[in-house]
Amino acid sequence: MEEWSTYRIRDFLLFSEEILLEVVDAYNHDLWPWQILWLGLAVLILVLILFPNRLRLRLVFGLLAAAWAWVGFVFHLQYFLPINWAARYSAGIFLAESLLFALSGTFLDKLQPDASGPRRNLGLIIFALSAFVPMEFVFGQNISHIMVFGWGPDRTALGTIGLLLTFRQGWWTMILMLPAVIWCVLALLMYYGLS
């Protein structure tokens, strides 16, 4: 216990901010222009959520499953893993969430969209921010570091939290929200350590 108190978050990070940004740069460069597709799918998700019915919700959850699978397989395993052996575990979180969304058709009846209310509005704002606002510029990064929903892990997790807030809260929404919240906490700790 005494030994653990000597560790700082920075001691658990194997890479620097410079190298992380270089990885993001390579990810964006190598796979261009697939980002455009994910931007288009984020617009589609927003439209489907604004005018929901059973089929449209199935489609939203299918797209969420695809987004989490893409980030898990491509970002974490192909790009993040070479600089961070722990990325295999974060890939696991993303793939588990993808599986949950893929299976959500079986418990879709338990997920009811909120027709109105401040939480729904907050959820839509969070989703829009994560999908369409280039927040990277605020942190002094450049265009090669911009991530979009379904492409970057932070955007995908944050956008998912936003979307789930538009549903009536219950066990199922909480279960689906858990991996997204876990990633957001890990990402915050990582950025704190890097800074």
Partner: protein, 306 residues
């Protein structure tokens, strides 16, 4: 001016003119770096080595791998020897191997890596993997990383040493952790090296471990000699004291590193960097005059006053 002083002045001026007319790299090549002896064999090791924690974990990016090759080239060009890595450092071992093969494995290389797993069997497999990544057949030094599963790994490493598959055996710790256990191992096992954290801010090893290393004839590698860069960042913009020139320190990195490697028990320090200009500064600490005990004390007092 006396006649003798005048003649000395003329001689010094002529020497300066000759030195000034030669390219800098020629001067570096001629002046050999300061080395210290590894107690168990008497072999010489340059006092400034290179660490690879974080700085060499650049993954598969060709651009970054190439920049790390340039840093490694500069390290050897300035007389560097020991490179230290670990399987724990992500892609660092692979990046070191990439750099070394591009540089045709410089003759002064002293390869040092670690075993980092609790299982003895996995440790043996990990060593094979490290050999492949470094592209070397025999490591100069293998160390048990953070004492993880040390009993089993030391058995493996001593056997390898007996068979000529390894030159030196060591254990590592950092940040002042598990010193009691390090002391116990130093007393019980025929270690060639220990690696510990030692810098002007973290002097915990001075109490017992450094004296014991001298008594037992164990070489000491100082990790985090710049406290992970925190010390140099803290001193940025502050003027170097004029008396630092008396021990040939041109910048704070050399001030901090010379203090570390001038301790009689320290064999080598392993600062890590991702910048060529910092590598040049670091390697400058392996040349010129070194501080004695009185100057080292003065250095500590000066740092505390800032």
């Amino acid at each position: 001016m006396q006649r003798r002083e005048f003649l000395e002045f003329i001689a010094l001026s002529a020497a300066s003119a000759v030195l000034a007319s030669r390219p800098y790299h020629a001067v570096i090549a001629q002046e050999q770096p300061i080395t210290k002896k590894i107690p168990s064999t008497g072999a010489a090791l340059p006092v400034i080595g290179m660490g690879t924690w974080i700085t060499f974990n650049v993954g598969t990016s060709e651009k970054l791998r190439s920049s790390r090759t340039d840093i490694t080239r500069e390290f050897f060009h300035r007389g560097g020897g020991l490179i230290d890595s670990s399987p724990m450092y992500g892609s660092s071992e692979a990046v070191v191997g990439h750099a070394l093969s591009n540089l045709n494995f410089p003759k002064t290389l002293f390869s040092a890596t670690k075993v980092w797993t609790s299982s003895e069997k996995e440790g043996r497999e990990q060593i094979q993997e490290s050999r492949k990544l470094w592209k070397v057949n025999v490591f100069d030094l293998l160390q048990v990383h953070n004492l993880e599963g040390w009993e089993g790994h030391l058995r493996t490493l001593f056997k390898m040493k007996e068979k000529g598959e390894l030159r030196y055996v060591g254990v590592t710790t950092s940040h002042g952790r598990r010193h009691d256990e390090v002391e116990k191992i130093m007393r019980q096992q025929p270690l060639d090296f220990i690696q510990i954290t030692y810098n002007m801010r973290d002097r915990a090893v001075e109490g017992r471990l450094l004296g014991l290393a001298q008594d037992r004839g164990i070489a000491v590698i100082a990790n985090r000699p710049l406290d992970g860069g925190d010390l140099t960042r803290r001193l940025e913009g502050k003027p170097l004291p004029s008396w630092a020139r008396d021990v040939d320190c041109q910048n704070w990195a050399q001030f901090l590193l010379k203090w570390v490697v001038s301790h009689p028990a320290i064999t080598c320090a392993i600062p890590a960097t991702s910048k060529i200009e910092h590598m040049r500064e670091n390697m400058g600490a392996s040349r010129g005059r070194m501080p004695d005990a009185a100057v080292r004390e003065k250095m500590i007092k000066h740092l505390a006053s800032l």
